[in-house]
Symmetry: C2
Subunit: 422 residues, 2 copies
């Protein structure tokens, strides 16, 4: 692996998500050589991924090539690569193709994947939503289910095709449920001749006692009432015990459904394994209050990969602003250490939680201030446009939203890949 021969400290960042990207940007003027490694060639604006899965946005609208983001940042190189492991003794990242990338400081920001609580065999039937390929696969399944239903003559099979189950009542589950019911009742309603798309059932299943547990209880209740009014069947306190091609089971109950979407749990990337440390139950790496590995100041972990304690012994939530704060902190901490200093501890400043419930409603929880309904949706939209990277993407996403809002049509209804359901 040709390494820059500048003699400056080498900072290797794994993952170009919100945390990694922010760290790399923050090191733009630092006297270091930055290597940013990702297994994709783009940074993904994950909070809007559900809109790709539900045919409002195209993948490119919420993704920017990592290289073009750093084209003018001369101390930074971008590598497309998959991490195999980290050789902490030799201070080098080992990539899957055998390349070694040496580091003086390593920042692990590889995020999280959806997890099936030990039931990986459910994945083919209940895909999760973390990557672009996940989103286009879910879009394919949703649209194809309506197509197959249109020509299905057996009533039970047709009913199963028109039943959509979302497992998990966090923000992703709530957003998917809201978007699918609107797709069925608004966008597709006049498109078919044999089926009535608005008869589709959308079920949101949550094992806990309420939706959106990170929000205030009043907002959870509002979200639940809104979804119910739109036609979503919300089921609380029910744990899914099986997913298959036939549908989902919750203990004795079973629901026939050809489309299941998994939004129930995440698990950190295999960072703990790479680093040779023990991860917590969700695979996260325990870090010090300087976000370093205990006993190794040269390795930092941030974002969904790290378990960072917050008030009352809880953890910093797995949301984009938190990852960005950690990324900025990590960059600063590395600069301080290079100068021989000791960085101050990381302090998370919680700015709030946002989630949409369909086309024109959302909830915003700023702690003291809580907003729901249309105004919250406006704040949600403005925040997401603002934080999107690239003027082009902001403009295009805004146009798509205005278009979808005015016409109730969603333009990205493409079934790509196979036209068979699993």
């Amino acid at each position: 692996m040709p390494a820059p021969a500048s003699g400056r400290p080498r900072v290797v960042i794994l993952g170009a998500g919100f945390g990694g990207l922010m760290a790399a940007k923050s090191l733009g003027r630092a006297p270091v050589d930055v290597t940013l490694i990702d297994r994709q060639n783009y940074h993904l604006f994950q909070p809007l991924l559900y809109q790709v899965a539900t045919a409002t946005l195209s993948p490119a609208d919420i993704a920017v090539p990592i290289r073009s983001t750093f084209r003018d940042q001369k101390n930074t190189r971008v590598l497309l690569g998959e991490v195999e492991t980290v050789d902490r003794a030799a201070r080098a990242v080992v990539l899957a193709d055998g390349r070694h990338v040496p580091y003086d400081y390593l920042l692990v920001a590889t995020g999280a994947r959806h997890a099936y609580f030990g039931h990986d065999e459910w994945e083919p039937f209940a895909p999760g939503l973390k990557k672009i390929d996940d989103a286009t696969e879910i879009r394919r399944r949703i649209l194809l289910a309506f197509e197959k239903a249109e020509t299905e003559t057996d009533p039970e099979a047709r009913r199963n095709l028109l039943t959509f189950v979302i497992v998990g009542g966090g923000p992703t589950g709530v957003e998917m449920a809201g978007a699918i019911i609107e797709l069925a009742r608004k966008t597709l309603v006049s498109d078919f001749r044999h089926i009535d798309p608005s008869s589709a059932r959308v079920l949101l299943i949550e094992a806990g006692p309420r939706l959106l547990p990170a929000f205030a209880e009043t907002l959870s209740a509002f979200a639940q009432a809104s979804l119910t009014r739109k036609g979503v069947e919300v089921k609380l306190g029910e744990a899914v015990t099986r997913c298959s091609a036939a549908g989902v089971e919750m203990g004795e109950t079973s629901i026939g459904a050809r489309t299941i979407i998994w939004a129930a749990g995440v698990e950190a990337s295999p960072a703990a394994k790479w680093l040779g440390v023990a991860g917590d139950r969700a695979g996260r790496v325990a870090v010090t209050d300087r976000l370093t590995l205990p006993g190794d100041d040269h390795v930092l972990a941030i974002g969904d990969t790290a378990a960072v304690t917050w008030r009352d012994g809880g953890l910093v939530p797995g949301i984009a602003p938190a990852a960005k704060q950690m990324g900025a902190y990590a960059a600063k901490a590395i600069r301080t250490r290079i100068k021989g200093g000791e960085p101050a501890p990381f302090r998370y400043r919680h700015q709030g939680n946002l989630a949409t419930i369909g086309r024109t409603s959302a909830i915003v929880d700023f702690g003291r201030i809580r907003i729901k309904g249309f105004l919250a949706w406006f704040i949600w939209g403005a925040a997401h446009i603002y934080f999107l990277i690239g003027f082009r993407n902001r403009l295009i996403v805004m146009l798509h939203w205005i278009w979808a809002y005015v016409t109730l049509r969603q333009g990205v209804r493409l079934i790509t890949g196979s036209t068979e359901l699993p």
Copy 2:
């Protein structure tokens, strides 16, 4: 297969390309029941597909869901399905899943696929460009080649990664060559640290004596000179005798290249086989001057599927305006026959040929009037925006073009799917 029980004549249209879509639209107010069958759920604006393959446009920008196009045309239903064969004795289309769709009039408009002149084993190494999945696959390969080159240490392997061969000097080949050289020399030029993307070789190989044989010779010469000035190596009179993972061979000569794009030949869909008639050398179905099968007035074939004679014994060219004229004619002919009349023969009115050569140059051949350079490019752009379906797509494509023109950036540089080359 539930069939409409209106008692009105049933018109079944196979394929929602330019011809099929036009025919279905033209039958909107006719006293018939129309069934439009396609194996995709979208109509594709194929003339801009090369811009998806070269990262300027997203798939959804040039595709519209067929259903939404016909949502308000009540005599028309849309079916997602793959044709297995046609039972002409029983007057029914047989789909791959066993469904039978009866017809009184059948319109075959299933277009063409790229063909390898009996060398289908070349396809994995030299994908063609007819479908959206083709375009995203070619985009993946082009972008990945630059990524792999960035970390390749062997000089020959790196050179092969940075060599792009386009086989076939028709409009698609010319457009791809122009777009790839601009991607390398304009868009990607500052993005890498180890390789110089502008050192990439782009070769356009044509077996015939000149590029774009459908155009006037002066325009062919202009296109060749423009491409050469941009840096494309144009090779005329050289037939490719082998494509492999190593590159292409032309007799004794071989060129090492990891990316090969096939734009050399097309072959009609298997319509001749379905209909039980003999196809011509390119698989096209011979039709009468009423576009019907000889001896069967109930079956029509149009577009790239049909061999329709034109002036001097030549054939109507395989371009979108020709397919649309045939679609409109077929709809009118069916209406005439239903009323008991005999339609007048089909007359093709050739309006001209257009092709782009990169970002700001094109050639337009209206026969008497021939235009080249920027003005031709403007005409080309205006025509393509005008004929795109849907206001939303027109707006978005125009924005993408202006954006790419002003910034020299192309936003859709996503590597989706695998990150390995074949």
